[in-house]
């Protein structure tokens, strides 16, 4: 939580109530027949943001993006751009461009003409010398100069992706929509491209809204992340807050790995919170950050594997100290993940960094170990 307090001079326009959002969704619902794809959606996106929409497949992310682009009309509610309602404006009249998941490059046009396509169709006709200059600028930005005269099928997947980006940026949109822009790239290229995208976003100062179902990608690139499930918006926050302070078990599970222990909340006379999850084990001691919790409520305690450390010996001075048995070890190179079975039956995963290059790992299968975590390590969730 200390992180959030430091963000005063970091880019965070959403914290200032005086700032007008660039995009505002107001009670947007979208139905396809009887099926509700997006339900009562409210969201504000600010200028120069790199905004990520995250969620499982079929969650409604693309539908939200397509409503922004103008390919779908909301069933009810309003969409505002710069204080102007655009809910029913056709796509060609919105200062918004989209980079398609399939790239949708025009196969009969070469790279140059693909990029110039939108420039030749501006409301105020552009002079051909201006078009030429702009296309060349885009080619340079995306490092495609060498491929200008090639057709889309004559270049690689990564290059195609950059053509799609150049084409959608060429018209200098107020807002750029990217629907899983890196989905078709392999892992290495993806990571490189993520940084390229961030770089380009910074250079051009365009507001980006990106759809992805890769949480790492969202965490790397985004200024804020919105998590969607079943057409509903679950949480909107910075990557850091979504990770460290998820507001529901769905979000907690969706972003990274997490241990979830269900139990009953007990609040003692001093207001300290403890969670009773087993008849035999000592209750979990944890900070009471959520004031909504009342005594006796059934809650979920969520703690990330990297916040648990493993020790050989018992240490009663720590707030949480539980005995368990190592049942599984996953060696990932930089770190190892241990699955530890508690005496109460739950299996907890804990992460340890592999700091030693050689020699025996400290723990092995069937070792009896003690798990420790702070009273600030976890978070108590009520839904």
């Amino acid at each position: 939580m200390t992180q959030a307090k430091q963000t005063t001079n970091v880019f965070s326009p959403w914290l200032n109530r005086d700032n007008k959002p660039l995009i505002k969704f107001e009670n947007i619902t979208k139905k396809f027949g009887d099926f509700t794809a997006v339900e009562n959606f409210n969201l504000e996106i600010y200028e120069k943001e790199f905004f990520a929409l995250l969620g499982s497949s079929g969650g409604g992310k693309s539908t939200v993006l397509r409503m922004l682009a103008g390919f779908e009309q909301p069933t009810s509610g309003k969409i505002w751009l710069d204080g102007e309602e655009i809910s029913n404006t056709p796509p060609n009249e919105r200062p918004i461009n989209m980079m398609f998941q399939s790239y949708a490059l025009f196969p009969h046009l070469n790279v140059w003409d693909n990029i110039a396509f939108g420039l030749k169709r501006t409301k105020k006709r552009m002079a051909s010398s201006d078009i030429k200059a702009r296309v060349e600028e885009m080619l340079r930005l995306t490092q495609l100069e060498k491929f200008a005269s090639r057709k889309p099928h004559q270049i690689s997947g990564g290059q195609r992706q950059r053509v799609a980006l150049a084409r959608s940026l060429a018209r200098e949109p107020r807002l750029l929509l990217l629907d899983e822009p890196l989905g078709a790239l392999d892992k290495k290229l993806r990571q490189e491209t993520q940084f390229e995208l961030m770089d380009i976003q910074e250079k051009t100062g365009t507001t980006f809204v990106i759809v992805t179902h890769d949480q790492e990608e969202a965490m790397t690139m985004a200024s804020r992340v919105a998590v969607m499930d079943n057409g509903k918006l679950l949480q909107v926050d910075t990557p850091n807050n979504v990770y460290e302070a998820p507001n529901s078990t769905y979000v907690a599970n969706f972003i990274g790995d997490i241990n979830i222990i269900e139990g009953e909340a007990k609040i003692d006379a001093e207001g300290l919170l403890s969670i009773h999850y087993s008849e035999t084990a000592a209750p979990i001691q944890t900070e009471n950050t959520n004031n909504q919790i009342h005594d006796g409520q059934s809650v979920s305690f969520a703690v990330r594997p990297e916040k648990i450390w493993i020790a050989k010996e018992q240490d009663v001075s720590l707030p949480n100290n539980v005995k368990g048995l190592i049942v599984d070890i996953a060696y990932l190179g930089n770190l190892s993940i241990y699955h530890i079975k508690l005496e109460s039956g739950q299996v907890i995963s804990a992460q340890m960094t592999n700091i030693l290059r050689t020699g025996q790992q400290e723990f092995t299968w069937d070792d009896e170990v003690w798990l420790n975590w702070n009273d600030t390590a976890g978070i108590v969730l009520t839904r």
């Binding site: 682009a69 103008g70 390919f71 056709p90 796509p91 060609n92 918004i96 461009n97 989209m98 398609f100 998941q101 399939s102 949708a104 490059l105 025009f106 196969p107 009969h108 396509f117 939108g118 169709r121 501006t122 409301k123 057709k151 099928h153 084409r167 959608s168 018209r171």
Partner: protein
């Protein structure tokens, strides 16, 4: 070269030689012969039993007289021109009718498409002759169409449709419509709908996106369809004889007349050879186009 590869490569050539080259050589040879009252009705005949000298006289009797004859009578080149004209305009009309149909089917819900395709192909299941005959019943002065138009009062005199070029156009467009629809449909169907959305996103109106994306992308289908209609339409015989009037002199009708009324096989053959030469032009153009397309792909 091993025997399997040889068979594989030779098979298509074998069919080409057996079904195209040999018949063509025979027709070409007849076109260089003279008519005769005999069976077959031309001389000379190829006769190996006479030895080398007979083969020599055989070749010396062949000449290009019949081709010269085609130039002397304006019936022939006028018929060629009429055929080209009728084939050209029928192709254009067929395209105009076929494109919206193909587009409609390509945009129809997925589960309806096979059925719609079926409806397009269904007419092939009845005889071509019967279908052309039924048009006589529709277009005749006392036909269904005229009766209907008279009944609703749009006209008070029956329209003269049968035995005119209009009837020929209608017949050709009707008969060849599926040949135009199929390649265009195949082309439009595999087109990614997100391309249209991308075009709209980049500032095109609906109609603009159609002109700058859909149409250029359907080009190879359109070209293929036009070839499939134009080439057989030029040599069409049944439709102009049944629906056209005596003034509709298409080259197919002339050809038929030479063969069966005049029994002048040599002239008929030369008419056929010239027709083939004329048809080679669009076929070569088509090939060039295909090649260019392939180079781009």
């Amino acid at each position: 070269m091993n025997i399997r590869r040889f068979t594989l490569i030779f098979t298509p050539y074998f069919w080409l030689i057996a079904l195209f080259l040999i018949p063509f050589i025979i027709v070409f040879k007849i076109s260089l012969s003279d008519p005769a009252l005999a069976i077959p009705p031309y001389t000379p005949n190829f006769d190996l039993s006479g030895g080398w000298s007979a083969i020599g006289t055989f070749f010396s009797q062949l000449d290009f007289e019949n081709y010269e004859f085609l130039l002397t009578d304006d019936l022939y080149w006028k018929s060629y021109l009429t055929s080209i004209k009728i084939a050209f305009f029928s192709t254009v009309f067929t395209l105009i009718v076929a494109f919206p149909i193909a587009y409609g089917i390509a945009k129809a819900p997925l589960h309806l498409r096979p059925m719609l395709m079926m409806l397009i192909i269904l007419p092939f299941w009845t005889s071509f002759l019967i279908r052309v005959y039924s048009w006589i019943g529709i277009l005749a002065n006392e036909g269904i169409l005229n009766n209907f138009l008279l009944w609703i009062g749009i006209i008070d005199q029956p329209l003269r449709l049968i035995n005119t070029n209009i009837a020929v156009y209608i017949g050709i467009v009707y008969t060849y419509l599926p040949f135009m629809i199929l390649p265009i449909y195949a082309n439009l169907e595999k087109m990614d709908s997100s391309l249209i959305e991308a075009a709209e996103d980049l500032g095109c109106s609906r109609i603009g996106a159609f002109w700058s994306i859909t149409l250029p992308m359907a080009k190879s289908g359109i070209v293929a369809g036009c070839m499939l209609v134009f080439i057989p339409a030029i040599g069409e015989f049944v439709i102009p004889s049944l629906l056209g009037g005596s003034s509709t002199n298409m080259i197919g009708k002339v050809l038929w007349g030479e063969f069966f009324s005049n029994r002048d096989w040599p002239v008929a053959s030369s008419v056929a050879v010239v027709l083939l030469a004329i048809l080679m032009i669009p076929i070569i153009l088509f090939q060039r186009h295909q090649q260019k397309e392939n180079m781009n792909e």
